[in-house]
């Protein structure tokens, strides 16, 4: 895995900047690039009647795009050979609206989700209050989960193949809302969604037989399909706590609706990071399966699953790094043809980006938009150490993302970059 990380880092480095002297700075930005892989077993996978299942996932996260590939297969199924299930999916997010008065940010994001064979979409609006609290409201079309973007605010995901599902899917079309709050190492949240599901049922019309003494015509029946709609209401509460190597995730919720029995579900996951790149996890729930989630209707039995994660980096994304669309996500130092070192900041969803620091004599200077969500910030960087802050869409000043930080003598935190 170390070699994998090295290859990725090298490839990223070569793609970003060929100057070896900038290697250190390019290796450490917060560009949300993450690659995970893992395996799991599910001894109680009721849907396959197999004693267990194996699953693995590879996940790559970029500022506006998350791509994932899953593969799962039953282990020694009693129903004979069953092929592995391969899933490929991705979520693309794009900005719709943004407003950022003091301490509150309203972000509207369009989330388009693709999962093997189906293209679905949804839109989410988020209101963030400070760094720790927020509310999301969303709608979906198709099977896309309205929380697909908001969910990035929740706790670090458990090891791969052990999908902790605090936001179960509802009907094909629905609306939802949720809140989250972070208090130190603890994150808690709740959500409610209502979905409208199309049901098709067969209506049989009987025609009695007609007969005479000599001829008997048997009774006949016509079958026609009738479509009607029913609502499905989902609610859940979840909490995630990470301290040191130990992570705990608990969740519970209910599902109720027309044509459905009201069910409650709970699940919990304990994660232990053995070494930085390897984590073990144990997860259990009272219904569903570890592969398809608690409300997947693939079985009503509980499940117990153990998983192993191999991660090139930590599996968790700093909260907000991906989801908080307007904030800057990373930076690069590039060398112009004339030899100048230029500061390029990645902020795909920002409509405006300002920079300030000792380079600008602490004046607020606007950065110039480039393609691909990149911004070029003035002025050219001379050799030395520089303190830099950036601000997206007239929001708060923040340290240059991905850079080293230092506490300023005047109280806040600034980014530190070294040009050698």
């Amino acid at each position: 895995m170390r070699s994998c990380r090295s290859v990725i880092a090298l490839a990223t480095l070569m793609a970003l900047n060929p100057r070896a002297s900038d290697a250190a700075q390019i290796l450490q930005p917060a560009l949300p690039f993450e690659l995970d892989g893992g395996v799991m077993t599910a001894p109680a996978a009721a849907d396959t009647r197999a004693p267990g299942m194996a699953a693995a996932r590879v996940r790559v996260e970029l500022p506006a795009f998350v791509a994932a590939m899953n593969v799962s297969t039953p282990l020694a199924s009693r129903q004979g050979f069953q092929p592995a299930t391969l899933g490929v999916g991705g979520v693309l997010t794009a900005p719709l609206i943004h407003a950022a008065p003091d301490a509150i940010a309203v972000n509207g994001l369009l989330s388009v989700r693709y999962a093997t064979g189906t293209g679905r979409g949804g839109a989410v609006a988020r209101v963030e209050v400070g760094e720790a609290t927020g509310l999301w409201i969303g709608a979906r079309l198709g099977d896309a989960r309205v929380d697909s973007v908001a969910a990035t605010y929740r706790a670090p995901e458990p090891p791969l193949g052990l999908p902790f599902t605090p936001f179960p899917t509802g009907g094909p079309t629905g609306i939802g809302t949720g809140v989250w709050h972070r208090e130190g190492a603890l994150i808690v949240g709740a959500s409610m969604t209502t979905g409208w599901t199309r049901y098709a049922s067969n209506v049989v019309t009987m025609h009695p037989g007609v007969g005479t003494d000599s001829v008997v015509q048997p009774a006949t029946a016509d079958t026609s399909e009738v479509t009607h709609y029913g609502t499905m209401r989902l609610s859940d509460l979840w909490a995630s706590w990470t301290i040191g190597r130990l992570g705990l995730d608990v969740a519970g919720g209910t599902r109720a609706g027309a044509h459905l029995a009201t069910v409650g579900w709970v699940s919990g996951t304990v994660t232990w990071r053995v070494v930085p790149v390897v984590a073990l996890a144990l997860t259990a729930g009272n219904r569903g399966s570890a592969v398809y989630g608690p409300l997947a209707d693939r079985g009503t039995r509980g499940y117990l699953a153990a998983g192993l994660q191999l991660s090139s980096w930590t599996w968790s994304q700093p909260p907000g790094a991906l989801a908080s669309g307007v904030r800057a996500a990373g930076y690069r130092i590039v060398t112009a043809p004339n030899g100048d070192h230029l500061l390029i900041v990645l902020a795909p969803f920002a409509q405006r980006l300002d920079v300030r620091g000792d380079l600008t004599a602490w004046r607020d200077l606007p950065c110039a938009p480039l393609t691909g969500g990149r911004w070029q910030c003035p002025p050219a960087l001379p050799t030395g150490i520089h303190h830099v802050s950036v601000r997206a869409n007239n929001g708060r000043w923040e340290p240059l993302p991905g850079a080293a930080i230092a506490v300023s003598d005047y109280g806040d935190t600034v980014g530190v970059i070294i040009i050698s």
Binding site: I385, A404, I405, Y410
Partner: protein
Amino acid sequence: MRHWRRTSARLIAGLLLTATATGAQGSAEPPLDSATALVVERIIDGAAADGLPIAPLRAKAIEGARRGASNEMILRVVAGFAVRLRVARAILRSSTSDPELIAVAGALTAGVSKPAAESLVAVVRAQPRPMPVTVPFVVATDLSARGVPADSALAVVQAVLRRNGNETDLWTLRAAVARDIASGGDPLDALMVRSGFSRAHQPTPRSDGTRPPPGTP
């Protein structure tokens, strides 16, 4: 060289008054009053006379003015940083670059003790392949700003270098620790895990509750 720096200092102090006054027109920030500007000029002049870099001192003054800090605070910050630059030069002793001085002074600002800084300088200079002290001190300052006790951060940086680590290893360590902390991890735990040290190897906390840096008896 010193003559040039002294001349530059006077020039910069003059520019400082102008810059703050211009800033006041543009963004309603209060300029330094003439008495404050005079004291800043003397501090910068003294630094120039001692051969210290004056650009960061000027930047501190301008930063304070732009942020609307009081004149007293600006004076305190500029004077304090000049002192730390002098301490940094005493730590580095031999000929050194401005970035190195600034990096060490920044670490001192973050709470790194002088003996710990001297120890790290000695380790960096004992590396088989020469390297500036800039990155080790910037990484230690970063870790400290994220909540790791300053001397613990410095000790771990030192340990990484003793294990033949290089600047890239330090940046990688910094990034990993930053991610763990952002995910809710305890800063010291994150540093220990990511650097390969076990918390069990940590010395017991002192009676005042502070934790001595790893490697100390």
